[in-house]
Each structure stands twice: as structure tokens, then as C-alpha cells.
Amino acid sequence: MKAFEYLSKIDRRIIYLVIGVVVILPLIFPTVERVRVMAPAQSLFNAVDSIPEDMVLMIDFDYDPQTMPENEPMAVALLRHAFKRRIKVAALSLYVQPLALALKALDQVTEEFNARAQTSADSIIYGRDYVLLGWQPPPIVPLLEMGISISNVYSTDYYGYRTDSLPVMQGIENFNDVGILVSISGGNAPLWWVGYSQVLYGVAVGAGLTAVSASDFYIYYQTGQFSGLMVGMKGAAEYEELVESKLQVPGERKASEAMPSLTAAHLAIMVFIIIGNIGYMMRRRI
């Protein structure tokens, strides 16, 4: 019994140290893990892949620094998919803080493609291949107004250009010209796109979710309100797998590289819970 007495008195900081080491080691000595793609990520990939020529992929960046490590790999994988398939992208945000992260992700993937591009045809040019529409308060305005006119809400884009003068926005008037809207979010934004924009205008909605809120969003996936889901870093790794295997787009796969560490950490947490409960059972029986 003394062993468990000691075990339960371990200082909190030792546990922090253990979990830190458990996560760091697989990062330094990575093992390659094949990621199995599940239905939600596959259906989102199919929905984005089947966007017609004259429509855009609209991406709502709704994550701030707090959930960036989970959401950014999703945004990068989605952008690689769109740019490789020459699908026009319109990016926006319902809040202020995510805008800088939208710009960060867009710049990163644009540089990746332009570094490899020889001709202007296969390079990514702002205004021709994608536009960052920016932010307009409050969320209810873009949610309802973009069904009538996108350029009404975002008359100037993030850089100050007139939106309807940009080549990418020619022929793109409202939600009827949006193939699918994917909301990459750490909060409830995907629910608003379903509740407001989809109910009123029938726009297809997909979502990239942090794993925390994911279990509450499956009810909208089961009814078909969400055309597909990326759930947590695992969902990002699945989408990265699809983009690399199906479209041969090279690029660092941050989420997939994290899988070995995630495995180690999950096992460690499970062991902690088991030890904790054994000690608890022992103490309760005496």
C-alpha cells in the first residue's frame, strides 16, 4: 500500500515533466505513420473536389492563436487542394483576430506553389486565383447579406482593392456562385453558416473543427447539413493524406508529423488515469 501512498503524493510538476518528455521524443525521432482516412474527411474532400468551373470555394477563417495548431494544418491542406485543382478561393472571417492567421496561411501556400511554378499559368496570383475579402462586423451581416450580394458586404477587400474589380470575383455575385463554404473554426461559426446562410440560401457548408467542439457538431453531419468534416488534428492529417496521395501536392504535413507524439501522449494519459484509479480503488477498500 505504501507504493500507492507515495504515487498519489507525486508533485504536479513531475507529471508535467513526464508528459513533456513523452511528447518531445517522438518529435525528435519521428516514425512515419500511415493515416487512415475516415468518411467525414473523405466526403469534405469530394465536395471540394466537385466544385464547378464557374463557382468559388469560400473559406471562413474562424480560428485564433489559441486553436491555431489544430486549425492551421486544415486550412493549409484545403488551400493546397484548391490551388492544385485551380479552384478559385474567396477567404473571409467573421471576427478580427483570425484575419492575420488567414493571411499567414494564404501567404504560406501561395509561396509554396509559386516556388515550384515555372509559368504564370501554374502560379498563384492574388486577385486572379484567390481573394482575401477581410472582415465586416457583426457576423449576422455577412451571414445573411452574402445571399444577395457578396460585394455589398465586402466592397473593398483586405488590401483595399474594390472587390468587384478583381478577376477572381467576376461572375461571383452571391451564395449561388459558391460551390461550398468551408468554415475552419475553434468555435460555433460553422453552426451559424448552417443556421443562417444554409437555411435561407441553401449554400453547401463544410467544417474544419477543433476536437473539443467536434462531438457536438456530428448531429449536423448526420442530417447532411454539413457536407463533410475535418475533426481535430487527426482530421487535418487525413485531409493532408488525401491531398498528397490523390493530388501529389508536396509540402510539410504538420498534422501527420504530430501523430506519433499524439499516440505517445494518449497512451501516457490513459496510463495516468489507470494508475490514479487503482490508487483510488485501494484507498476506498481499506
Partner: protein
């Protein structure tokens, strides 16, 4: 007068918010676009600035009264002023009146955000992994049948989402997908109905002026 006007406005604009679902008549749509674009969009921008005003007021009071940790309020105010100046006068991606680069060293608002806000914000939440590990060891107990069922499901899901889970048995990931699609959807949908009814009831009471707490909150 101080109550009747706001309550009347909340009812009028509440009905204005309901209308687009039930009519797409061109006149109605133009009025809706006017309300959204030319009224609500401009007014709401000030609401955010209001939050900022009260934040600065709290920290100025803290400094004046030398309350605990008041020195750090200076850090908050100074960092706000510096980033605001660089952002407002330097432009969102540089190129404003204020030069935002000296030679190859760039310091526009985007670079500051990526190298100050991002590390601070994401590390703040990365702490949670440590708290989670410690709580897992010392707090998460199978105290009752309910919490035992919870922990067993959690173990299955935690294994199933990993590539390791797929190697243990390729049925495991599909079983986790089944847990998410059936029992999880059933319970979250049942809970969701209650929350949806509650939020509709609250919204109706606000519009009809029965729920007036939002008035009091601004005393």
C-alpha cells in the same frame, strides 16, 4: 422614455431580423440590405471599440490606485499604444504613412501579430495539455457507473483516433466512427433540443420586452 424606446427598437429590429426568412420580395430585400449594410454594419463596429474603452479604463484605475500587479497594466497599455500606432499608421500589411521596415528588418502589424500574438495565444492553450495530464492522474476517477461508462468510451475513442488504433484492429476506427455517429449523435441531439428551445424562449422574451436584464446590465 429611457426604457420604452430601447424596448420598442429591440422589437422593431427583432421583427426585421425574422422577415428575410419569410419573404424574398425585391422591396423587402432592398430594405433588408439597407438595414444590414448601412446601419448594423456601421453601428456594430463601435461596439468593439467600446469593449476596448472599458478595458483601458479598468487598467488606468488600477495604475492610479496602485492595486496589486498594477505595474503590468503599464505593459498592457504601452503594448496597445505601440501596436495601434504601427497598425493604424503603418497599414495592415505595411505601406502606410509610417515606414514599417528598416532595411531588411520588417515590423508591420502582420509580422508583430505572427510573432507576438501567435506564440502568446497558442502557448496559453498549450498549457492545458499539462493540466489535462495532471488532472488525468489525480482527478479522473471511475466513481460511479456513469463515470466508468464515460471513461471506457473515452479510452476506446482515444485509441481509435490514433494510427496505432488502426493497427490494433481495423475495426476499431470504424467502431469509433460508429460511436460518434449513433450514441454520440443521439445524446447530443437530445441535449441540443433542450438548448434550442431554451434559446428560442429567451430570444422571444427579449423581443417582447419580458426579459429586460440587457437593459439593466448597462447601469
Amino acid at each position: 422614455m429611457k426604457k420604452r424606446i430601447p424596448l420598442l427598437l429591440v422589437l422593431i429590429f427583432g421583427i426585421a431580423g425574422i422577415i428575410p426568412y419569410y419573404s424574398q420580395y425585391p422591396l423587402v430585400q432592398n430594405v433588408q440590405s439597407f438595414i444590414r449594410n448601412d446601419m448594423i454594419r456601421i453601428i456594430a463596429a463601435f461596439a468593439l471599440v467600446l469593449g476596448l474603452g472599458s478595458l483601458l479604463k479598468v487598467h488606468f484605475d488600477k495604475i492610479r490606485r496602485h492595486r496589486e500587479n498594477w505595474e503590468y497594466s503599464w505593459v498592457l497599455i504601452l503594448s496597445f499604444v505601440v501596436t495601434a500606432i504601427i497598425g493604424l499608421f503603418g497599414g495592415r500589411t505595411g505601406g502606410g504613412m509610417l515606414p514599417t521596415s528598416i532595411g531588411s528588418f520588417v515590423f508591420n502589424i502582420q509580422v508583430i501579430y505572427e510573432n507576438v500574438n501567435v506564440p502568446l495565444g497558442s502557448t496559453m492553450f498549450a498549457l492545458l495539455a499539462f493540466f489535462m495530464a495532471s488532472a488525468a492522474y489525480r482527478a479522473f476517477r471511475a466513481r460511479s457507473l456513469d463515470s466508468t461508462l464515460l471513461l471506457v468510451t473515452a479510452f476506446i475513442v482515444m485509441l481509435g483516433v490514433l494510427p496505432l488504433g488502426n493497427r490494433i484492429s481495423h475495426h476499431l476506427p470504424s467502431f469509433v466512427q460508429w460511436i460518434m455517429d449513433i450514441p454520440n449523435v443521439a445524446s447530443k441531439r437530445g441535449i441540443g433540443f433542450g438548448i434550442a428551445l431554451g434559446s428560442v424562449a429567451t430570444a422571444l422574451k427579449i423581443l417582447l420586452g419580458i426579459e429586460q436584464k440587457w437593459l439593466g446590465g448597462t447601469r
